[in-house]
């Protein structure tokens, strides 16, 4: 039997012939649409794919994209980043987080700037790395500033399990895990967004299952296709959305059957449920408070909860977003990056004013890097 190569996982999904064929099918099918299709790509990963692979250029004019709230860096409010900075400034502390989070502006600083001042702040490649860091620094408090949607939450749960199994005494968690469906609901409920189709992120549904989108499809009478992140995946997802629309259906379909099921990964869901529960409120950057849209540690694990243990040093006052930044409006699907007066001028990936410019998965960053052609 042929051994599976890494390229087997993506090569066919970037096949030029397949992409071109899908573009032709989309063009043909889109001619039958009775109204333009405004597709929200809920996740920044899809925004990135659409821009990086130039997919917009292959689509007819009556297909447009609206960028959703699904980037864990983009939606992190300044007050939570201020928490991370306060924790990192405690003595004998190592603050660990994922990727671009260290570059996102809080109210006065970023984790990267604090690191330059001498604080021990480490971006991790995988959350499990924190175990090794904690063991090598048993005299220090090691705090995991946990971020991400349903996709990354199981990894945090797995770290918690390991901490408990191995009785590791010096790891604490500041949980900022957020949930996709409540955010989509918050965007659709005011009735301002002109969205009439969704591409759902496949990696979220690998964990939570495609079923999490079913109430949204029913409530807003909107087709939803759960799609992967390769160009062929996204193009197939778009074609399926158009077909649904033309057939008058509003269902949740899966264009990523190689990994997504309706029920998702039950073991991962169970592990999350063991340690975490929904928060009544969580503020999303630019959008504001969305009830039941994030998770926190359960009370029985309060001794691991950095928010409780170090609550005395955490800033409490809410912080406003930059006045000129329209990240919130972009995240709500009401504006495009180019509509922002500071896009590409005083707000660039090197000195971002708003969070959408920070992360590779942010809409502004993707438009800045790849757009304009």
């Amino acid at each position: 039997m042929k051994q599976l190569q890494l390229k087997d996982l993506y090569h066919a999904f970037r096949d030029p012939k397949t992409i071109k064929s899908l573009a032709l099918l989309i063009e043909k099918e889109a001619k039958k649409l009775s109204e333009p299709l405004h597709i929200m790509e809920v996740c920044g990963g899809h925004t990135h794919t659409i821009m990086k692979y130039g997919l917009k250029q292959l689509l007819p004019k009556n297909i447009t994209f609206i960028h959703g709230p699904g980037c864990p860096v983009c939606i992190m409010p300044k007050d939570r980043i201020d928490h991370a900075i306060a924790l990192a400034n405690m003595e004998d502390t190592i603050l660990c987080t994922l990727g671009d989070m260290i570059r996102v502006p809080g109210s006065k600083s970023t984790l990267a700037k604090e690191r330059a001042k001498g604080r021990d702040i480490r971006p991790l490649y995988t959350p499990m790395d924190i175990i090794k860091i904690a063991k090598e620094n048993s005299d220090k408090k090691v705090i995991f500033f946990a971020i991400g949607f349903e996709t990354t939450t199981p990894m945090t749960a797995a770290v918690i399990k390991r901490v408990l199994d191995e009785c590791i005494q010096n790891i604490y968690f500041h949980i900022n895990h957020v949930l996709v469906p409540p955010a989509v609901k918050a965007i659709m409920d005011p009735g301002k967004a002109k969205i009439n189709a969704f591409i759902g992120p496949s990696h979220v549904s690998v964990i939570s299952g495609a079923k999490i989108y079913e109430p949204l499809a029913q409530t807003y009478q909107t087709p939803i296709v759960v799609s992967g992140f390769e160009p062929v995946d996204v193009m197939e997802g778009i074609l399926m959305l158009i077909q649904q629309k033309n057939e008058g259906r509003c269902e949740v379909e899966i264009a990523y059957k190689r990994s997504v099921t309706r029920e998702g990964n039950l073991k991962a869901q169970q592990m999350i449920d063991t340690y975490m529960e929904p928060r009544a409120h969580f503020t999303w950057r630019g959008i504001g408070d969305i009830p039941n849209s994030a998770l926190r540690l359960k009370e029985e694990y309060a001794y691991l909860d950095a928010e409780k243990i170090f609550s005395d040093i955490l800033p409490k006052a809410p912080v406003q977003d930059h006045k000129l930044c329209i990240c919130g409006t972009i995240l709500q699907g009401l504006a495009n990056p180019q509509d922002c007066s500071v896009f590409g001028t005083s707000c660039t990936p090197n000195s971002p004013l708003g969070s959408c410019m920070v992360s590779d998965e942010g809409a502004c960053n993707a438009y800045y890097r790849y757009g304009g052609l």
């Binding site: 890494l6 993506y10 692979y53 130039g54 570059r103 971006p123 590779d360 890097r369």
Partner: protein
Amino acid sequence: MDKKILLSHGGGGEESNQLIHELFYQYFSNEILLKSEDAAILTTKGNIAFTTDSFTVSPLFFAGGDIGKIAIAGTLNDLSMMGAKPLYVSCAFIIEEGMDYNDLEKIVKSMTEELSHNDAKIVCGDTKVVPKGSIDKIFITTSGIGEVVTPGISAQNIDEHDMIIVSRDIGRHGATILAERESIDITSNLSSDCKSLWPVVKHLLDHGIKPKAMRDATRGGLAAVLNEWAVSSNICIELDEEAIPISEEVQGLCEIFGFEATDFANEGTFILALRPEQVDKALKLLHAFQDDQSASLIGKVTTKKPKKVILNTPWGSSRYLDLPKGELLPRIC
């Protein structure tokens, strides 16, 4: 007992003298250095190229090289890219107290070997030892002087219709360092491209190749070099994405972490801008000399969007290839 570098090795006294004579002079030995004067007196013919660079890398030893190899190859490659034959090198070591003497010796040996590929000499140097914790084991600064053999190679020379060639597959050094830092076993066959470029550059020049511009794609990778050229020469560079050579190991690593190979550092890969009529000959020379078929024509110079690099995809769309920004951080999900 393992021999360690002590603060006294940088103090200027007997121990310093011992280190210089027993290690550096032994390996870097040549008549100019051994004169031990305050400055080296050098002889050159015609125009010289002069460059300097500092080297820090973690881990110090990696698949395909070490900090010593890079410190020589990196600086001498900068001379080669200007059509200059490397001649003389200065070398300053800043060493952390407590460094293994054996590791330092390995680094010095590696520098000697790399010098031999260029037929160049270290003619002056300096050693400082700093208290433990001040630096990460060792920093090396090298400066190089080379004799300009082929004048007129410049990032400002590139015109419409010129062609862009890359000398081999890209991203190996950056990917290797990433894999070693993160202990990623799946890329065990991956090694850095770290190499002195003067031999291959000399081969091209000797056979009549007249590069308009040449640059080794070090930090910032292919994307940084081409963006700098686009700005310096006020041109648009259009790349054929499918033609850019990337090994499966490097691409695999990019897929895992969400990086682009065009942003990864290289230490023995260079880009050439050439007139179209020289392309076939240059590629044949590169393929034969390096015994590697990965050198490729990857793009052309146009006037479509001056100061920009455009990547044309195999399915008919295009996008900008921007300069890499900030630290390379892996994607979150």
